[in-house]
């Protein structure tokens, strides 16, 4: 066996991410693939991709912690944690000053509050609907015949964002059509959509007693989202180094810690 590797796998509703750390905690591999219909295929592909980058093989996996919507589907996982715990752990490592984490995923948005020791204080998830999630933006982009990155590029040119009031994806779509008919600038409408998510997120933050950080695919791929959040929250929003991989990174750190705690190099049957 070459060097022991510590694997974090985040199986999200849209994308599956993997982060691999070495025993010093340095990131040596990562990958992201679309989750698709079969989680197991996505998991196999993402772990293989990250292992290739790390120059390792399945036999080198000392521990694996899985998280995310499909966390129970990782056959070689030695521990399963929710995204909330994974993000809390990851954030403590990438910016110990962050007390509020905004994680905007495809399926849901989470607000996670941690204390100075990285202990989870409180968390909230959006109500059961697409409002305030990546799906909201994606479905409206599709309606406008674009992809998400086009919507983001458009929004970044906005000078006077339109107000999009509706929380509901369908009604917001109708509202967008109405604004287009009224002759409003497409870039202002696009920014209005990011703003509407930011407003929704603001409602989920009861109080602010420290720095705010953001994670997830939406903030990684849409700088406009970060701008909208900063305007809405009236504070700096710190981005995780690899926002979409933040959950997998936290999971990988937990994998590393689990081995340190037990003193074992290999605490599972590797390569499932």
């Amino acid at each position: 066996m070459s060097e022991a590797l510590y694997v974090g796998v985040d199986v999200g509703s849209s994308a599956t991410k993997c982060v691999i750390l070495d025993s010093a905690g340095s990131l040596v591999g990562h990958d992201v693939v679309s989750s698709g219909f079969k989680y197991i295929d996505a998991i196999e592909r993402v772990v293989s991709g990250a292992l290739d980058q790390a120059g390792g093989s399945r036999e080198d996996m000392a521990a694996c912690v899985s998280t995310g919507y499909g966390r129970k589907h990782v056959p070689f996982s030695s521990r399963v944690v929710t995204e909330i715990t994974a993000h809390a752990r990851g954030t403590r490592a990438w910016d110990p000053e962050v007390r509020i984490i905004i994680d905007i995923g495809g399926q849901d948005t989470k607000i996670i509050r941690i204390d100075g020791s990285g202990q989870l204080v409180d968390y909230r998830m959006n109500a059961k609907c697409a409002a305030g999630t990546g799906t909201f933006l994606e479905s409206i982009a599709v309606k406008l015949g674009m992809v998400l990155s086009d919507l983001d590029a458009l929004a970044r040119k906005s000078s006077t964002p339109t107000v999009v009031n509706s929380y509901c994806t369908v009604f917001a779509g109708t509202e967008v059509i109405e604004r287009i008919k009224e002759g409003q600038n497409p870039e202002d409408i696009a920014m209005g959509l990011f703003r509407s998510i930011a407003t929704r997120i603001k409602e989920m933050i009861p109080s602010r007693d420290g720095s705010v950080g953001a994670t997830g695919g939406v903030v990684e791929h849409c700088p406009a989202m970060v701008v909208a959040l900063e305007e809405s929250l009236k504070c700096e929003v710190r981005l995780a180094p690899m926002p979409q991989h933040a959950g997998a990174y936290g999971a990988a750190l937990l994998a590393l810690e689990s081995c340190r705690e037990t003193g074992s190099e290999v605490d599972h049957a590797s390569a499932g």
């Binding site: 399963v80 715990t85 409180d122 968390y123 909230r124 998830m125 059961k128």
Partner: protein, 413 residues
């Protein structure tokens, strides 16, 4: 984590099953017998008056819960929406109305009867919510039956003599109306007997629930949801008393033997709000797997009334129907929850924000935050519904529950 430990079965359940069967078959027989009377009543309504008049009493909310538990509510609700009942109003009501319009009832499969018994009279109390009034009126029109109700003061802080006197007056008026309807007088000795039996069943139920104050909890909220049926449906009967004596013996046996409903109980949780009926089994299994006992709840305690020590039965009824938790002020509720958490050695509180029942949801006016601040305990609010699964996301809720337990674990480190 899936634990290999086995659940300990509650033996009294067999007795409960036959009690329930007898109850529904008796109702069905009464409905088709011209010499017998059936009344429908709200679950914390004036059922003792109806019993004293000789009515067999049926509780539509139980039917609403059954529709949810059997996972058929969402198929029934569209029929009610079609005749003008908002999809976001009480899903007990919309599923029950929809079931009637669609000719569906879980009672058919369970007991071989056609459905709820036809009423001669429908009586309600709006002490729980105003929805019941409109729900009852729908069925009053449908069955051409009389609808009568009382409207006690709501959101009450301290219950005063003036409140009690007002509600007592309403109950007396209700009696007068029923006397006029039936053409005969109330037998007050019978009323006193019904109240006395009700009160005994209710206080035994409270004793059963209170056994969960011990660690490990001999029973959980999910057990309570099954075993609370007699205190609602058979209040005022000796059967309910006998049943709770039996169940209490079993629970006391568990307490002295140190037997918990959750083997190796790790954490104890308080549940506020309605159950998610279509998901009760999944949730119960989830908490079992997590080693968490949901030791106490507002919901199961809703039928734990004050004892009746003799005297004016109407005054007891007036007081109990005004004192119930759902009818009280935010300040009262908050204090009640704090005391419950202390008494049951609770580690964290879960609030169910039920989309279609604002009345039985207590997280809409900052209560969760206040309790978190005041008790220092983790508090979780999750979105769902009592019956309509369209307002519920299994994946999201299960993540919420698991993360909550991870939070509790983190506090131990």
């Amino acid at each position: 984590m899936t634990r290999t430990a086995k659940r300990v079965k509650i033996n009294a359940q067999g007795t409960l099953r036959s009690l329930m069967r007898d109850y529904f078959l008796n109702l069905d027989a009464a409905a088709s017998d011209p010499d017998r009377l059936v009344a429908w009543c709200t679950s914390v309504g004036p059922c003792e008056i109806l019993t004293a008049f000789g009515y067999e009493v049926y509780f539509p909310e139980n039917h609403g819960a059954l529709l949810g538990a059997r996972k058929i509510s969402h198929e029934c609700i569209p029929a009610a929406v079609g005749v003008g009942y908002c999809a976001e109003s009480c899903s007990y009501m919309t599923s029950d109305i929809g079931a009637a319009l669609s000719g569906v009832s879980p009672l058919t499969e369970a007991y071989g009867i056609s459905g709820p018994p036809r009423p001669d009279l429908l009586a309600y109390s709006t002490n729980q919510c105003r929805e019941v009034q409109d729900w009852w009126h729908f069925f009053g029109r449908r069955h051409d039956a009389k609808v009568l109700g009382i409207c006690p003061p709501t959101h009450v802080g301290e219950v005063t003599d003036a409140h009690v006197a007002f509600v007592r007056h309403e109950l007396q008026e209700l009696i007068n109306h029923i006397e006029g309807h039936l053409g005969r007088k109330m037998d007050y000795a019978r009323l006193e007997q019904a109240v006395s039996l009700s009160s005994r069943a209710s206080s035994l139920w409270r004793c059963v629930l209170d056994t969960a104050r011990t660690r490990p909890s001999p029973m959980t909220f999910f057990d309570g949801l099954i075993h609370m049926a007699p205190v609602i449906l058979m209040r005022g009967s000796q059967d309910a008393i006998d049943y709770y004596n039996l169940l209490l013996d079993e629970m006391n046996g568990r307490v002295s033997g140190g037997i918990g409903a959750i083997p190796d109980e790790r954490f104890r949780i308080y549940w506020d709000g309605m159950p998610v009926w279509p998901k009760v089994r999944e949730m119960s299994e989830k908490f079992f797997d997590l080693g968490v006992a949901v030791s106490a709840s507002t919901y199961c305690n809703s039928w734990a009334f004050e004892d009746y020590a003799g005297g004016d039965p109407l005054e007891w009824m007036a007081r109990t129907s005004t004192e119930i938790f759902i009818n009280r002020s935010e300040t009262f509720k908050q204090q009640f929850l704090i005391e419950m958490c202390e008494a049951f050695q609770i580690d964290g509180i879960i609030f169910h924000n039920a989309r279609t029942c604002p009345n039985n949801t207590n997280s809409r006016f900052g209560m969760a935050q206040r309790l978190r601040d005041e008790t220092g305990m983790p508090v979780l609010v999750f979105d769902g519904d009592l019956s309509d699964v369209r307002f519920f996301s299994t994946a999201q809720t299960m993540t919420n529950m698991e993360a909550f337990v991870e939070q509790l674990e983190g506090r131990l480190r």
